[in-house]
């Protein structure tokens, strides 16, 4: 009888330490939905870039020397809108599935763990986002895929300390992919689709089957 009391105490202590220091509402389905959105976005980008005939990696102004300047700007604007919409949709879906998980397990979705997680996640993320904009402003898209993947990976490694620790493995994978994308720059969009699409889906499914079924 004594044993069960101590055992229960220790379990309660462990659970409290977890719940009070880590954001546990992050759902595997958030990863799956973000991955699907990223794959769709990559497909649209591929279409906008004329099925790979336009290399988004090269200088935007030199894409098609014979075409009008406005065409280049339209393309750039469309790609930026696409990127922004992808980011917002992915965040919204992540929020939705986290909200569902929080409700199911009776976690609170907005508490000090949430704030800390978002803070740690967004510092590298915003740095990467601004740096990507600087690259675009300099008309150098060569390293865009690499930069977004690497900074996103760093953001995940950083945030992994404040949520399910498996997030750090996803982060490391994104960094490795980003470095590869930096070497093989002409395959940037493909690396981007693997990193933001396929890795998210795989990670999300693993987490879903491990924790939420």
């Amino acid at each position: 009888m004594e044993k069960s009391k101590e055992f229960k105490d220790l379990q309660e202590i462990k659970s409290l330490m977890e719940r009070s220091s880590r954001f546990l509402s992050l759902s595997g389905l958030s990863g799956v939905s973000a991955g699907i959105i990223a794959l769709i976005a990559a497909a649209i980008a591929y279409y906008l870039l004329d099925f790979g005939r336009i290399k988004y990696t090269t200088n935007f102004y030199l894409l098609r020397p014979m075409e009008e300047f406005s065409y280049q700007m339209d393309l750039l604007t469309n790609l930026l809108i696409l990127a922004f919409a992808t980011f917002v949709l992915a965040l919204a879906s992540a929020y939705y599935f986290s909200w569902r998980k929080a409700k199911k397990y009776n976690y609170s979705l907005w508490d000090h763990t949430t704030k800390r997680l978002l803070f740690q996640l967004f510092i590298p993320l915003i740095a990467g986002g601004v740096f990507a904009l600087i690259l675009i402003d300099r008309n150098d898209g060569t390293l865009l895929a690499a930069v977004t993947l690497i900074f996103y990976g760093l953001a995940l490694v950083n945030a992994g300390k404040y949520t399910l620790s498996e997030v750090q493995y996803l982060g490391i994978s994104e960094i490795v992919l980003g470095l590869l994308a930096g070497i093989f720059t002409c395959w940037g969009l493909l690396f981007w689709a693997i990193g933001f699409g396929i890795l998210h889906i795989i990670y999300g499914l693993v987490m879903y089957y491990r924790y939420e079924r």
Binding site: E12, L16, H112
Partner: protein, 98 residues
């Protein structure tokens, strides 16, 4: 066996006190309302246990004003952390030896 039981600290022999210490082991300053939510207890009950732990210098308290509202936060002292760790080890040993 006797040693192990001696290492169990009377100060922690309560669900709420165990909870308070668990939360403060892995977080720096935590405010009253967060503790209340995490431990799912009442104001009075939580306050009395916090006071008991504070009197034993296992935790410390600070009061701040956020706007016009007072906010009370708590932090485990080094001594409190050490004693709680010892208590946890004793619990684990007790389980192992049974």
């Amino acid at each position: 066996m006797k040693d192990i039981i001696q290492n169990l600290n009377k100060a922690f022999e309560n669900r709420v006190r165990l909870g308070i210490m668990s939360v403060l082991m892995v977080n720096d300053w935590v405010d009253f309302n967060t503790l209340k939510e995490l431990l799912d207890t009442t104001d009075g009950n939580l306050a009395s246990h916090l006071k008991a732990l504070e009197e034993k210098a296992l935790i410390r308290m600070k009061k701040q004003f956020v706007g016009r509202k007072p906010k009370t936060s708590f932090q485990a002292t080094d001594n409190g952390k050490a004693e709680f760790r010892q208590h946890l080890d004793a619990l684990e040993n007790l389980l192992k030896n049974q």
